[in-house]
């Protein structure tokens, strides 16, 4: 039973991304600013840090592929991005301590890297003509803010849940 809770939670995060984009509008930001939910990435990073690297990368790959197939319909943009970021984070965690503010900082950094990477790819394949200045002011900063808040909100419950899961797995 416990085995299915984690995939289900990640799927929930995955679907809530699209519902968030559809339903949530912050009136104080107007229509020019875009805030992109990256809940799955944050979740994957928490899994990498608090559970283990293999599961983090696995979830990253699966949900990267899902994101490509279901939302974007261009396969390859997110496919390796989540898994690769999870790998990098696990490398970084070997050097750094697992304090909460470090994890928060790393996940914000990962969101920024992902945004730049996706912007780069979309710029190269010609789906966007947004300039770098526009990208940073209208997309990047708001996205980082949103995901920082979400990461702060969810890190405590997810941390306790994932550590419990880790203990249970090591007992098996």
């Amino acid at each position: 039973m416990r085995r299915f809770i984690l995939p289900f939670l990640v799927l929930f995060a995955f679907i809530s991304e699209s519902s968030f984009a559809h339903l949530v509008h912050f009136p104080f930001l107007g229509e020019d600013y875009l805030y992109i939910p990256r809940f799955v990435l944050i979740f994957v990073i928490f899994i990498t840090v608090y559970l283990n690297r293999t599961q983090g990368m696995l979830f990253g790959l699966i949900f990267g592929l899902l994101q490509d197939v279901v939302y974007v319909e261009v396969i390859g943009i997110y496919l390796f991005a989540y898994g690769f970021l999870a790998y990098l984070i696990s490398k970084a965690m070997k050097v750094l301590h697992g304090q909460i503010y470090i994890v928060i900082f790393l996940s914000t950094l990962a969101v920024a890297v992902l945004e730049f990477y996706v912007y780069g790819i979309n710029y190269v394949i010609g789906t966007t003509k947004m300039s770098l200045y526009q990208f940073t002011t209208q997309r990047l900063l708001t996205t980082l803010g949103l995901n920082l808040v979400v990461a702060l909100l969810f890190i405590f419950p997810l941390k306790s849940f994932l550590t419990k899961l880790k203990i249970a797995e090591s007992e098996d």
């Binding site: 799927l11 929930f12 995955f14 679907i15 809530s16 991304e17 699209s18 519902s19 968030f20 984009a21 559809h22 339903l23 949530v24 509008h25 229509e31 875009l34 992109i36 939910p37 899902l66 197939v69 279901v70 939302y71 974007v72 319909e73 261009v74 396969i75 390859g76 943009i77 496919l79 390796f80 996706v118 912007y119 790819i121 979309n122 394949i125 789906t127 966007t128 003509k129 947004m130 997309r139």
Partner: protein, 311 residues
Amino acid sequence: MPQFFLNKRLILLLVSVIVLVSLIGFSLKDDRQLSWPEQFLQDTVSVFQSIFHKPATYVSNVFGNIKDLKNTYEENELLKSRLDEYMQLEADLQEYKVENEKLKTELGKVADLRQYNPIYSAVIGRNPDRWYDYISIDKGEQDGVEPNMAVVTAEGLIGKVKSTSQFSSTVQLLSASDLKNRISAEILPVESKKTEDENDTNEDKTENNDKVTGLIEGYDEEKGALLLRRIESDIKLVEGQKVLTSGKGGVFPDGILIGEIMEVEPDSYGLEQMAYIKPSANFYDIDRVWVADRVAPSEDPVEALAEEEEE
């Protein structure tokens, strides 16, 4: 150097970059149909999406309702003042409809581009990364949705079907900056009341009463306006003229409202003019849409030509 290539991780990285580039290249191919694993994944996710979406919409509606309550009084006043006008319009419309019907029966059987069967559907999600302006709806091939059909809300045209799965489909909104997104449109002549005003002020009697055609090509994100190109340069256009689909592009029905003219300027070569169209539909707050399944058969002009030649 050989040591460089023996590095396992580096090779893995290089291979994945190659796979990635080839996959992107493969999926960027024009008018690619979704393969069955993709359709399967989309359908499965869409089931979860529709389940999750209902309570989420409910919560967001509660917030929306609170906001609405604040403006109710002012809105009510405004609507009351409009009501009389509306009655008159309705009476006129009824009359025209009857007249139209009569004339049509006199004319005989003519394929009507205007008629379509609406396929009502709910929006169950939106592409979270806003590089692509896609929304997903809960009707698919099984309900008769096909790629390139027009998608409409009560406010007007919002986009076209990009790809379909069995039970869900993806809609590309008009606000996507995709130049392949061409829609044949026509500009209605100015309403008679307005022309009178115009004549009073500047004695300009070059207003023509014919419909003007053009093509919608792309979207200007800064202005939030659609670009209507290929309008003949000697036609005088006025702000506020309504723009509708013309139905001459193939799959779209005739007479769906797109928006109204915001600004007119000469095209880059000066041979034609170009208009900025303010879309009548809101692309951010979409709840229920219908897909317009045109009754008149759509004909691919290239294929039709080929058939004619064969004959």
